[in-house]
Amino acid sequence: MLDAKKAPVKGAFLIFSSTTNLGPWTVALLLALLTLMPIAVVASAMLDPDQEIWAHLWQHVLPELLLNTLWLALGVGLGVTLLGTGLAWLTAACEFPGRKFFSWALLLPLALPAYVTAFVWIGLLDFTGSLPTWLRETWEIVWLPPIRSRGGVILVMVLALYPYVYLTARTAFQGQGRRLLEAAQSLGVSRRRAFFKIALPIARPGIIAGLSLALMETLADFGTVSVFNYNTFTTAIYKAWFSMFSLPAASQLATILVFFVLALVMLEQLSRNRRNYATSARGGGGAQRIQLTGSHALLATLAAGLIFLLAFVVPMLQLLVWTREIIATDLDLRYIDFAWHSLLLASIGAALVVSLALALGYTQRLNPTPAMQFTARLANIGYALPGAVLAVGFYIPVAGLDNLLIDTWRDYSGEEIGQVLGGTLAVMLLAYCARFLAVGFGPVETGLARITRSMDEAAQVLGKTGLNRLLRVHLPMLRAPLLAAAALAFVDIMKELPITLMTRPFGWDTLATRVFEMTSEGEWERAALPAVAICLVGLLPIYLLVKHSDART
């Protein structure tokens, strides 16, 4: 053994230190707080419930809310599962005229916020709408099923949300490869039975993942149910806050909603854990498609075409028609403000989300321990929290802080000052970050995983470390995922309604709040103009999704 002091060493040596690095943990815990704090805030309302409010809610509000929410979740859940899985199987495993087109076209409804699809269909089918009017005048058909009904909300939300299940189920079906189905057939099982005995059970985790995402959107939805005047927890939170001016009532309603959401999160985590066996059972490349012929092929084309028509073509066309009717009279200088506000929020928000996602991604990469994974998972749970809950959860502490500042300043100088943080973009941006961190984190995490440890080491052995390695290896490899993360967050923030509506500075309108304002007055034509802008921007991430997924094949 050589004495360290006498060692004839040249060059720079690394000295190992045994101190643990606290930096990564600070980052991860702060980000986890971003989602845990609003939950804690609304939940604390339950610790000290105002008996009077509680009694009122329990007697007059809650029964209807619970019933409405359960019906909605049940209907939408059933609808998106059947529609999403069925269409996914058709385009992933069968062959019929137009399959390639429908493979990606059936994703397009993702570009339309559900509240837009909703007001278009109401505008079309309401008593004064163009279709019933035409039916009355031409055919004297007076009765149509009422669109403003429980069935109507469910139908519209299914049309808007089925792509979540379609996407995950399709990926699951395609990942199975043909070997398993061939094995089943070699054991004497028909293709039809193989679907129910093999393909469907293996795809189940993927289907459940998509379903839980769709149900989270359903629970979080504020715009669609508002258009339909269908009372759910989100609309009740809004009313409690802005009509009854009771934040405690809003918090208590939010807490109940959080219980529903947590149940869904558990469902989704369960499906995540099970997804492993689905991916290990792959092999054999792309499945040989089942060739549909004759009436079967025709039915498949018709079914896919009908859904595409109802969920995308009709709403989009109607929006464009309305826009053309009113653009000359309605497009004025205010729209510069609406668009500017939307762009500003979406850009700052997307930049924040991507930065935080990157920070969390590197934190996790440098400390790949189970505890860190769990913390990162917590930080990402915000995507499940409805915007209405986050709005309340962030507004209460910020308002509290404001009051403290105002009081302190009064005691100190005797002057009265107004809100310091409450009326700014801060609450909104915080809530966006909490809600959309996961949207940015997904691509960033996948991107970082592509940079293997051996690539890092290869760069190091070849003399590139630290910043040099970051610039020459990491950044070029992360460019695409970072762009994807930014685009997804940008569009989601642009479409976002409840957070923006509840926490924006007074009079600070965006395209989305303009849509809300016009629809709540029943002015469908005037709502179409800002809606078209949102939908067109919304096509961008769909384009990215289609380009980078195998949805084209």
């Binding site: 060692a7 690394l14 760069a459 470390t465 070029p476």
Partner: protein, 353 residues
């Protein structure tokens, strides 16, 4: 030159490597061979500078690069590394991958060196391809070229052929050996595949459980295994019980073996020091059993495997034990048939019981 001197590594109470010492001379190709989990890859990472050792020292050339508490950073070692998964940068084409480590060179020299490396690995026509457009064998050669381009003092290869199919593996290992010899590179290879090790390396260390069992030439590993592990891990064969008669005679079921005695019986204090008839196990390789129709010693064919150039027969001896026999491929005997055999052993490998 690479030298490891009493190197040990432990994570807390868990010992990974114990007392590893060996030297690879300039231009020589060494190999660490062992089953998965034996610590060979960890040893490689220690030499590359990615792990810190807990005892001993590592020298590359005349420079001490690792000793407890201090290691020279990997990027300052001038060591080339070929990864098991190649770790090619997917956003760079072949040319740029190879040029990645060539900094500090003027541009014309850099281009020259890249061209030289492309020529060396025979990929000049794929200079502008991206890694995903290449076959596995081509990716492997790009990884080699990238590691060699900055003229490392030492090249480390981590299971370099394990991702390739068998035929390509053999072809490429000979090709890589030619390239390394041509460039006079000192190299250390890590593998679990003895064919790969035999094809590539001048000298091999067989490892098990963090210890080098034997550091020797391929020939000696096969013919003079130092212990039961090496005898079992390298090549095929069976152990038959025997009794030492004297320093050059051992008696087994098949007769008396004569010759120098190897294995741990030859070590100091081994049974050959005493002619007292101590019990040993004797290693019988398939090529030690010779098929001879005139022999009186008969054995029953229990299993056979046709291997093209020869048969590998599993034979049942009269006493019920089994031996393997390698027999010319035109001696096609049926299962159950009794065939004559004799021993063809000029040195005895015996292990203490």
């Amino acid at each position: 030159m690479l030298a490891l001197d009493h190197v040990a590594l432990a994570y807390g109470a868990k010992t990974v490597l114990t007392d590893i010492s060996f030297v690879i001379s300039p231009g020589q190709i060494g190999c660490l061979l062992g089953p998965s989990g034996c610590g060979k890859t960890t040893a490689l990472r220690l030499i590359a500078g990615f792990e810190k050792l807990s005892a001993g020292e590592i020298r590359i050339g005349s420079e001490i690069v690792s000793y407890p508490g201090r290691i020279l950073a990997p990027e300052l070692r001038r060591v080339g590394l070929v990864f098991q998964d190649y770790a090619l940068f997917p956003h760079l084409d072949v040319e740029k991958n190879i040029a990645f480590g060539l900094t500090g060179l003027p541009a014309p020299d850099r281009r020259l060196r890249v061209a030289e490396m492309l020529e060396l690995v025979g990929l000049s026509h794929e200079a502008e391809a991206y890694p995903h457009q290449l076959s596995g064998g081509q990716q492997q050669r790009v990884a080699l070229a990238r590691a060699l381009a900055p003229r490392p003092r030492l090249l480390l290869l981590d299971e370099p052929f394990s991702n390739l199919d068998v035929e390509l593996r053999e072809k490429l290992s000979l090709e890589v050996r030619d390239i390394l010899k041509h460039e006079a590179i000192t190299a250390l290879l890590v593998t679990h595949d003895q064919h790969e090790a035999f094809a590539m390396a001048d000298i091999i260390g067989v490892m098990n459980k963090g210890v080098i069992q034997q550091w020797d030439t391929p020939y000696n590993l096969y013919h003079q295994p130092a212990n039961r592990f090496v005898a079992d891990f390298i090549g095929q064969g069976v152990l038959l019980p025997g009794e030492v008669l004297n320093s050059h005679q051992v008696e087994i079921e098949l007769g008396v073996l004569e010759g120098s005695v190897d294995g741990d019986c030859s070590e100091e204090g081994g049974c050959t020091q005493c002619d007292l008839g101590c019990k040993v196990d004797v290693l019988i390789r398939p090529d030690d059993i010779i098929h001879d129709d005139d022999s009186l010693l008969m054995a029953e064919v229990e299993r056979k495997a046709f291997r093209g150039a020869d048969f590998l027969y599993t034979l049942k001896l009269p006493g019920g034990r089994h031996v393997l026999a390698q027999v010319d491929s035109h001696h096609n005997h049926a299962i159950g048939e009794k065939i004559g055999i004799r021993l063809g052993i000029d040195h005895v490998v015996a292990f203490r019981k």
